[in-house]
């Protein structure tokens, strides 16, 4: 029994789940009606549904980021790619059909991902630096596309992607679920998971084993780019406008945090898609909670930082050991 419990605490998903549960419990006491769900016109409404809906762009980007981090990389350009894709879709819809605009938005995600991938794999530029280029240039490109204005979107099909309902649930949830399933498929039913984890852990040995790291690297950055583009579509569809300046600002940081909280190490190797999902939910719930309990907006970032630090510390086995030792001592003294 004790042994089983130990085993469970050793699972990567355990601590992020605990953190999320604690946060939800807190909400239960702080915010009456947090868990209540109403049905209006056959659609579900409530704080939980709201979180589920809002988290999707972050969640999708985090999933892409997980694969990049698994191969010991990082992609800090996702926020800019998100802005470009939203801007491009909005701009194109003024002239062409919504479907072409959607294709173009995803296409630009592919191009951005390829760009990052080629810089990292072919030119062997460090991932942080390589993606920094697109992080800075990307917003400029997005502004060029929108002409420096906030473009409004007036297309019901497009808007449905961000704010429509299916089976009573917000539509973005289905997009997120589909992407998660595809990635799970890639991880469990193809050799993608094995190859990525192998490259992320030991590049030289992977080369000797016949894995083609360059191809894999380009592939994961491309996937990450596509994820960012899809998130861009959802974000712009949700607010019916494309804002080149502010869409997806700082989302790369939240995404990296979600991945790390989910148990994937920045040093590469094993990656946990389920953990990332929990991580993304945690961050979104935290933001929502902080806003709804009315914490002074000026210190929101500080509160968020403190909570994240705590979660990360508790994930570290060394810290837990120290913590246990410390608390035990206290107990024995009293």
């Amino acid at each position: 029994m004790k042994h089983n419990f130990y085993k469970i605490t050793q699972m990567k998903i355990f601590w992020p789940l605990v953190a999320l549960a604690v946060l939800l419990l807190l909400n239960l006491f702080l915010l009456p009606g947090f868990f209540s769900i109403q049905i209006k016109d056959g659609h579900l409404f409530g704080s939980v549904i709201d979180i589920l809906n809002r988290v999707m762009p972050l969640l999708i980007i985090s999933l892409g980021m997980t694969m990049v981090i698994a191969k010991e990389g990082i992609d800090i350009s996702v926020g800019s790619v998100l802005a470009i894709s939203g801007a491009l879709a909005a701009a194109m819809m003024e002239h062409t059909s919504v479907w072409v605009a959607l294709l173009a938005a995803v296409g630009v995600g592919i191009i951005c991902g390829l760009w990052n991938g080629v810089l990292v794999s072919v030119f062997e530029i460090q991932p942080m630096v390589a993606t920094l280029i697109l992080l800075t240039v990307g917003r400029g490109i997005a502004q060029l596309i929108t002409g420096g204005q906030i473009l409004s979107i007036d297309n019901s099909v497009y808007q449905y992607l961000g704010s429509g309902f299916l089976l009573g649930l917000p539509f973005p949830i289905f997009i997120g679920a589909a992407i998660f399933l595809i990635m799970m498929y890639l991880k469990k039913r193809t050799a993608m998971g094995l190859f990525l984890e192998s490259i992320g852990n030991n590049m030289t040995a992977s080369k000797f084993a016949g894995i083609q790291p360059k191809k894999m690297i380009i592939l994961v950055y491309t996937i990450c780019g596509v994820c960012a583009a899809i998130a861009g579509i959802i974000v712009s569809a949700n607010v019916s406008s494309a804002d080149a300046n502010n869409a997806g600002l700082w989302i790369e940081l939240d995404a990296i945090l979600a991945v790390v909280i989910g148990g994937t190490s920045m040093r590469g190797g094993r990656y946990f898609l389920g953990g990332t999902i929990v991580g993304a939910f945690f961050i979104q719930t935290l933001s929502t909670t902080i806003y709804s309990v009315g914490i002074n907006p000026q210190i929101v970032m500080v509160v968020k930082a403190i909570v994240v630090i705590l979660v990360c510390l508790f994930q570290s086995q060394e810290f837990r050991k120290l913590f246990l030792k410390f608390t035990k001592k206290k107990v024995s003294f009293s």
Partner: protein
Amino acid sequence: MSSAILLRAEGISKSFPGVKALSNVNFSLRRGEIHSLMGENGAGKSTLIKVLTGVHEKDEGSFYLEGKPISPVSPQDAQRLGISTVYQEINLCENLSVAENIFIGREPKKRGRIDWKEMNCRAERILSERLKINIDVTKILSSYSTAIQQMVAIARAVDISSGVLILDEPTSSLDKNEVKQLFEVMTKLKSEGMGIVFISHFLDQIYEITDRITILRNGEQIGEYVTKEISRSQLVSKMIGREWGKDSNQENKNTRKEVQQVFVSAQNLGRRGMISPLDFTLRKGEILGLAGLLGSGRTEFAKVLFGIEKADQGVLTIDHQQIRNMTPKAAIDKGFSFCPEDRKVEGIVNDLSIRENIILGLQTKRGLFKYIPMNEQREIAQKYIELLNIKTPNMEERIDNLSGGNQQKVILARWLATAPKLLILDEPTRGIDVGSKAEIRKLILDLASQGISILFISAELEEMVACCDRVIVLRDRKKIGELDRTEMSESRIMDMIAEGVPVDET
């Protein structure tokens, strides 16, 4: 004999999840002796060392240094007590210079700052005087071969040691000359009254240098013997726990019939700075050896052949088909497989399980989208765990929890599992125990008789002569000759290698 006990271990036990690595082991090291720990792969030798030096926590038992109980909590702690260790998996910093590696944590200082000049000077002196190695100590460590890295680790430990020196398989990647240097140093330290623990799977070395042997089997101590008083077959029988038949160690008479069909051939294949252009042919079912000293180009040639390094001239023909632009993936698709020399860097993937490490090569052969179904993966892994006698409680265990020799077997399994037509084996039995070595040799001969071509690289000439149909001799990254079975003998190969000026190791 003034054999005061220097270091004593009493009733040491250590368990890992699913394995009892040590149970109630006693061990004593006397002043001025070289003491060997012997045992099969996974017997618990390295674990004993790691428990002693504070890498792992022991479950039970106690250690005494000069009669006083000690319990170091880290290797640094052990060093302060005068116990310095070269671990089996060398733990140096690849991207620091050689000198920095030797002095890390105890850099010579001048006015509070590191005195680089002094440090480089002293590093050079230690290497050249003690171990007769002349290299540029300001270059980063990873620019040198495994052998040199091994020697640097030894130099560091020797320089620190005061009292007890522990060497866990230090000779696994060394050539005869380096081994000789190492033995000279060890003899000198021994005469100064130091106690040395020496682990190796080479019986010749054990009999040459050690005074006493402690045998471990499955984590239990079988006994302590004076080296001179125990015969080789007794020793091995005690290690493996059953009679060691003479025949299992005997030279495997080569009775395979000759096949004329050529599988791979090369004309003028080479790469500047690595291997001078050379011709070679390899028939189906033939075992071809590459002999030469460390740095003679034997590994480099294998790498060029497998596409790890691009050939910059020459033609490679596989099955009458000319191949351009060889890459490891292309090589694997053509039926090549390459068991590399340096298992830590080029072989194992730490994070992955034993199963995943075994199927990795086969998976790349099948491709990204033809994922091997889980039950097939398990079958394959199980098959090779049994065939090669890999000692593990569970195939889902992380590979770095295996003992060194067992990790080597996993890498071998990875390449056998691809059902290759050409098997390139670069020191395939490095770190593997005497018994398994004989098994693997048999397996190699078996594969050859099934028509698989084998390119065999080994520093052990005896092994080469016993297995190979033909040997290509390399020196200074050049092919200097070829011997067939009738002309081949250890001394003949040695002579060819030694002719002319000796190769400088840089």
